[in-house]
């Protein structure tokens, strides 16, 4: 992106005005779609923090995403519908689970780390699916959306703005985090764990912190998606969901601040657009992904400009 175009204000301005715009075009249906994009952008951004900043190729992010959704659904079933309580609870449970998983998984590296995170996520998938309380294979519907006084989440546009606000807050928070002492130490660990170890940095603790933060944000995204979809479904926990989130990150740009957003918007947008023309949209999505990874190794953000790790 050249210096003359104020890229970021334009992006956020357009995003903010989206519901009014769609409403006036008579396309209110797409508000729900735009909300989904924002939620997946949040989930992909959280994974991008783990993969791009922490250098940890985690293949089980759906576990935290899905757990967030199930916490909201189960809390609702137990009579707790306040988002002020249920959403932080979703983040806390996702973080706690990630802490336990990370403690074991971070002993391994490379392909083995990919595989062990995948295995733990599958364990969580099968555990949740086996419990009748959580609705088994059918998932768990929400009686209503969470209540977030003073906002009314039953309004589609309000849910959109809340998702947008949370995405913006997370992006800002992760940017500050990356610029902090912690962020610089993490960058060091990503580039050369051995040297950082020798310099006296607690390498595994730094990686664990990164893994847990990413999971907490994914839990929040899951809580949002449960509200958007009106249910928590096992598909959110399945390994293909982890794969999809990872695909969004790689497609958007690993380690790029907007990588998650670009990837989610491009993938979901392409799917939605193709669905208008063909029943077999995944065929073309797959071909497009192959083309991108062959010709643009740094993802879409890499195509847009060289603003890496901003």
């Amino acid at each position: 992106m050249s210096r003359k175009i104020p890229f970021e204000p334009l992006l956020w301005g357009a995003a903010l005005a989206m519901p009014w715009l769609l409403d006036s075009l008579g396309e209110a249906y797409y508000i729900g779609f735009a909300t989904r994009v924002l939620i997946f952008a949040l989930a992909a951004t959280s994974l991008n923090f783990v993969v791009g900043y922490g250098g940890l190729v985690a293949f089980g992010h759906a576990a935290f995403f899905g757990l967030g959704a199930y916490v909201v659904a189960l809390a609702m079933q137990a009579g707790l519908s306040s988002a002020w309580l249920a959403w932080p609870l979703a983040m806390a449970l996702a973080a706690l689970t990630a802490f336990a998983i990370g403690l074991v998984s971070l002993r391994t590296r490379g392909v083995y780390f990919i595989m062990i995170t995948l295995a733990f996520a599958q364990m969580i998938y099968y555990t949740v699916v086996s419990f009748k309380l959580a609705g088994g294979e059918d998932g768990l519907p929400l009686a209503q959306r969470s209540t977030l006084a003073p906002f009314d989440l039953a309004e589609d546009a309000t849910l959109y703005w809340v998702a947008l606000g949370l995405l913006a807050a997370s992006l800002y928070g992760l940017k500050r985090l990356a610029a902090s002492r912690f962020g610089h130490a993490l960058a060091g660990v990503r580039q050369n764990p051995l040297r950082m170890e020798a310099l006296g940095y607690p390498v595994r603790a730094l990686q664990l912190a990164c893994f847990v933060i990413g999971a907490a944000v994914a839990g929040l995204a899951g809580a949002l998606l449960a509200n958007q979809n009106g249910m928590a479904s096992p598909a959110m926990l399945y390994w293909t969901q982890s794969g999809l989130l990872l695909v969004m990150v790689i497609l958007g740009g690993v380690g790029h601040r907007y990588g998650g957003l670009f990837g989610a918007a491009a993938l979901l947008g392409l799917e939605e657009a193709l669905a208008l023309f063909t029943e077999h949209s995944h065929l073309y999505v797959g071909l497009a992904l192959l083309a991108v990874i062959s010709f643009a190794p740094a993802g879409l953000a890499g195509l847009a400009g060289k603003r890496r790790r901003g």
């Binding site: 993969v51 190729v57 293949f59 074991v104 002993r107 391994t108 490379g110 392909v111 083995y112 990919i114 595989m115 062990i116 995948l118 295995a119 733990f120 599958q122 364990m123 099968y126 555990t127 699916v129 086996s130 419990f131 009748k132 390994w239 293909t240 794969g243 999809l244 990872l246 695909v247 790689i250 497609l251 690993v254 029943e279 077999h280 949209s281 995944h282 065929l283 999505v285 797959g286 071909l287 992904l289 192959l290 990874i293 062959s294 190794p297």
Partner: protein, 304 residues
Amino acid sequence: MTQLILEQALNGLQFGLMLFLIAAGLTLVFGIMDMIHLSHGSLYMGGAYLGAAAAQASGSFLVGLSAAVLGMAVIGVLLETAVLRHFYRRDHLAQVLATFALILISNDLVRMIWGPQPLLLNPPEALAGPIELFGFSYPAYRLLIIAVGLGIALALYWLIGHTRAGMWVRAGAANRAMAEALGVDVRRLFTGLFALGAALAALAGVLLGPLLAVQVGMGENILILAFVVIVIGGIGSIRGALVGSLLVGIVDTLGRALLPTLLRAVAPADVASQLGPALASIAIYLLMAGVLFWRPAGLFPARA
């Protein structure tokens, strides 16, 4: 009770041997090329569909089986030379994206050609009934699967352990750069290996077809099990894949059959009925996490 355990152990052996057919190819792709290959499950699915279609058209299970194995070997060569070859030197993330894309493509291709409904694949008629075995009856078809699985395992053992090509493969898995420096054409070797892996996956797809459903998405389930197998066994090791497959097959099958009953003896019925299936389905993942925790490179590390 002993009869149940024996029967389930045979089922576990049968499932484990089928897993081995899939994992054997996958572990070599991983081990020699250091390639994350998520679309190996699609080769399995493709084999099952080709086999079911050819069997329906010809009325013969054997024709379906041969068509699937040969067809997928050819498709494997095409896939390797046209797409996968370009990703060996890329990082794991690029490989994940490319092979995930291949899953999306192949699932939709199958849906385009054969429709969304599962295909029916019948076992050969001569083997449709049960056989008396040590005083209990066991399906003849499952016995055939066990026999074929054992035969393939022996053949692979001979191929990898006692032939020149097998020596190259082992050398490639232990240290690829060194093997190349010593004059092994790893590229060509690997195309052949990939075709073999695709043919074995197809064989498993057709053999399991009459027992499990031939449907879109069948590859995704089995792929993760194959991953578990090769991580337990040690990436790149055929012997590890065999041990891992049998462990996973037997633990999974026996766990599903026995854990709910065992739990009922020590816990209240309603707790047991929920906890049993949950524990049974996560047993193999616990096994894998445990192996990785104590033996981070698997049971039979191939890397020198």
